[in-house]
């Protein structure tokens, strides 16, 4: 090897690295944005972009304050004790610049309150200036301590399903009765029907059985397709697998009507069965492909040794198919976890995570700060499952599509 060739390779690979890293950045930034936002206080979420957390907070209004106020009230606002600009009591009377403007328009000791310099005569310009001065006065009164930039309140609100006027933790500390009708302010709130905590349980209640059931049924069917001979085997297989293409939406109306007649609306077993049906075609396809790849001699010799189909299904096919089962399981679990449409229609009274997120949107809109927390709470388990079992998930995808 010549010494330059490896160097050469590194340089020729630079565009590859650049392109790949750029793509990865593009892919990660949206999620990162939500992640950062979920820890930001409500008002910040509404008024500034999430990337501003990486910039220092600016103190606004200092120049305006120095121009108009500092000469009389002093740099710290305390010069005139009757009108201490840094006192919170005084600020209560001036929540808005227009109130301050009204006050400043009144003369003081027969002279204009502000004369050197006078406020801009255009009220709009005056309000602009005064709102900055008010901001500065607020920072004076809070003693320069910055507002919190990160908070866990969004997560707390999302977990218990709080939709009140401030936030759950504050209301509990202050004992605001009107907002707490539904809350006990103890751990039982985690199971409040409107919260993400309860929705998490509901989701698990849906996802676990509806993952196991189709895989088991598919294993039976796939076994029959692989190791048994019967008339119409090929055709039946193609039909079942072909049903993968049926859009789920096509069956919603008749099933919803059927459930209404049977009194099965909003029951867990109703949604289990529905998901089972739609998981089956792909599961049968994948399991059959996998079972077909198992060594045939193994089954033949077991058969000769006296094992019947029932025994060889449980003792050989199922254990040997574990990789396929794992792949399918993860695939189905993630699909169930993230499903919105089916749960929205068939499980209205026991909302799952995705449905609960949309419920958290205030009937009148808004609540974005809580949604960010709620969304991330719903990501935790699928992310964990995905990254822990990524190998199997990928295998589940590729096994279906690529031969081998």
């Amino acid at each position: 090897m010549k010494p330059f060739s490896s160097l050469n390779r590194i340089f020729s690979n630079i565009p590859i690295h650049a392109a790949l890293i750029l793509l990865c950045l593009l892919w990660i930034v949206p999620t990162l944005g939500l992640f950062v936002t979920s820890f930001r206080p409500r008002e910040d979420v509404r008024t500034s972009g999430w990337w501003t957390v990486f910039q220092p907070r600016q103190v606004v209004g200092e120049t305006e304050y120095d121009t108009y106020c500092a000469s009389c009230h002093g740099a710290d606002g305390k010069e005139i004790s009757a009108a201490d600009l840094s006192s919170p009591e005084l600020l209560v009377d001036y929540p808005r610049s227009n109130r301050l403007l009204t006050a400043l328009r009144k003369d003081i000791d027969g002279k204009p309150h502000l004369s050197d310099p006078a406020l801009p005569s255009n009220p709009n310009k005056a309000l602009d200036t005064l709102s900055k001065i008010l901001d500065y006065m607020r920072s004076l009164s809070s003693g320069g301590t910055a507002k919190e930039r990160f908070t866990l309140r969004n997560y707390a609100d999302a977990l218990v399903g709080y939709k009140g006027t401030q936030d759950y933790l504050t209301d509990c500390q202050q004992g605001v009765a009107s907002a707490l009708a539904k809350f006990q302010c103890n751990s039982s709130d985690l199971l409040n029907p409107e919260g993400m905590g309860r929705a998490l349980l509901n989701t698990i209640m849906v996802a676990v059985p509806a993952t196991i059931l189709p895989i088991l049924l598919a294993a039976f069917a796939a076994y029959a397709f692989t190791w048994m001979d019967f008339k119409g085997r090929q055709l039946l297989f193609i039909i079942l697998v072909g049903l993968q293409i049926v859009p789920l939406q096509m069956t919603l109306v008749p099933i919803a009507r059927l459930y209404a007649q049977l009194g099965m609306q909003s029951t867990f077993y109703g949604i289990w069965l529905f998901h089972t049906a739609f998981g089956l075609p792909y599961a049968i396809f994948l399991m059959s492909n996998f079972l077909r790849g198992l060594p045939r001699e193994l089954f033949e010799s077991a058969y000769i040794d006296g094992a019947n189909h029932w025994i060889s299904f449980w003792n050989m096919a199922l254990p040997l198919a574990l990789p396929a089962i794992a792949a399918l399981g993860i695939f189905q679990f993630l699909w169930l976890w993230n499903d919105f449409l089916v749960a929205k229609i068939f499980l209205t009274t026991q909302p799952v995570l995705t449905v609960q997120i949309t419920n958290l949107i205030d009937p009148r809109g808004g609540n974005w700060h809580i949604l960010t927390g709620a969304a991330f709470l719903s990501f935790i388990i699928p992310m964990l499952v995905f990254f822990a079992f990524q190998r199997y998930f990928v295998r589940g995808l590729t096994a279906g599509a690529v031969k081998g």
Partner: protein, 303 residues
């Protein structure tokens, strides 16, 4: 083939198949037939579709709901948009998946890069909708932009864009979310196919003096072509059924309507029309389904 020595009765196979077939019959086959029937009835599913005709208006009799599905302006928008999704988003997503698969194949941090691209697959559409709000948001008044894209535009001295409500760009914006969600899927499958290629052929090409692009074009692509077709057909089916992204992000407003969203909206208010749209959707997938079936048969025959 099934080992001939493993005999079983004539009933046994069907006992193994029974549970799966029962569930599939009740939840897929029966509803399909029922859906077709309902598509010829009125909005409550009580009378024939012809009874929803208004005097003085065009009427297709029993096919009235199909008249709606094929001629209503909202539906025409939806059909146009689905076509747009198919033509723009499917090629871009498959190509992007291929590019990432090829690029990642040549670096050390391959699995990290692939995990990043793949991650959105683990996220719900509802979650994706919330994530992308913080990209597309627009502030029309004097306040600061809270959406990243518009903050960048404003930072560059440009006007902010209403990504989701401006008909000139909103369909593209939604497709970008779709690409973000699905590129990982395409990448994973294509990557597996590339890994399956024999190293010798690629190396032989290099020895013969082929550069990277030539190898890619003349060797890699032709060899994984069947897989590319699989990925493309799967994406076509996914996109024909596209619903969640539109539902979550625009609700089908501002000219972003798609077929499946129309169907969902009408489920409550008009059974006949909703089911007619569902049938239309299946009819549109039939060519793809036929293609897939044939491919599967060929593979079976090769075994």
């Amino acid at each position: 083939m099934v080992p001939t020595i493993m005999k079983q009765g004539r009933i046994a196979p069907f006992l193994y198949l029974l549970p799966a077939m029962a569930v599939i019959t009740i939840f897929i086959v029966y509803p399909m037939i029922e859906t077709v029937r309902l598509s010829f009835t009125n909005r409550y599913g009580t009378g024939t579709a012809a009874s929803s005709c208004l005097p003085g208006n065009p009427c297709w009799g029993i096919f009235e709901n199909y008249r709606y599905a094929l001629t209503n302006p909202e539906m025409l928008t939806a059909l146009r948009n689905n076509a747009l999704w198919l033509l723009l988003m499917v090629p871009v997503t498959v190509a992007l998946g291929l590019v990432v698969a090829i690029l990642a194949d040549r670096v050390r941090y391959e699995s990290l890069a692939k995990a990043v691209i793949f991650m959105p697959m683990a996220i719900s559409f509802i979650g994706a909708g919330i994530i992308w709000r913080f990209m597309y948001n627009i502030e029309s008044g004097g306040g600061a932009q809270t959406g990243l894209l518009n903050a960048i535009l404003v930072g560059l001295g440009l006007q902010p864009v209403a990504w989701l409500s401006n008909p000139a760009v909103n369909n593209l914006a939604l497709m970008a979310v779709g690409t973000w969600l699905w590129a990982g899927f395409c990448m994973t499958i294509l990557s597996a196919a590339i890994k399956g290629l024999s190293v010798e052929i690629i190396e032989a090409a290099h020895v013969d003096g082929a550069n990277g692009w030539q190898t890619f074009r003349n060797i890699t692509v032709p060899m994984i072509w069947p897989t590319i077709l699989v990925v493309t057909t799967t994406m076509v089916i996914n996109i024909l059924k596209i619903f969640d992204i539109v539902f979550v992000m625009t609700g089908g407003n501002f000219g972003t309507e798609v077929i499946a969203n129309r169907m969902f909206k009408l489920i409550v208010t008009d059974l006949g029309r909703s089911t007619a749209i569902a049938v239309l959707l299946v009819v549109l997938t039939i060519p793809v389904m036929y293609y897939n079936m044939r491919r599967f048969r060929e593979e079976e025959a090769m075994r």
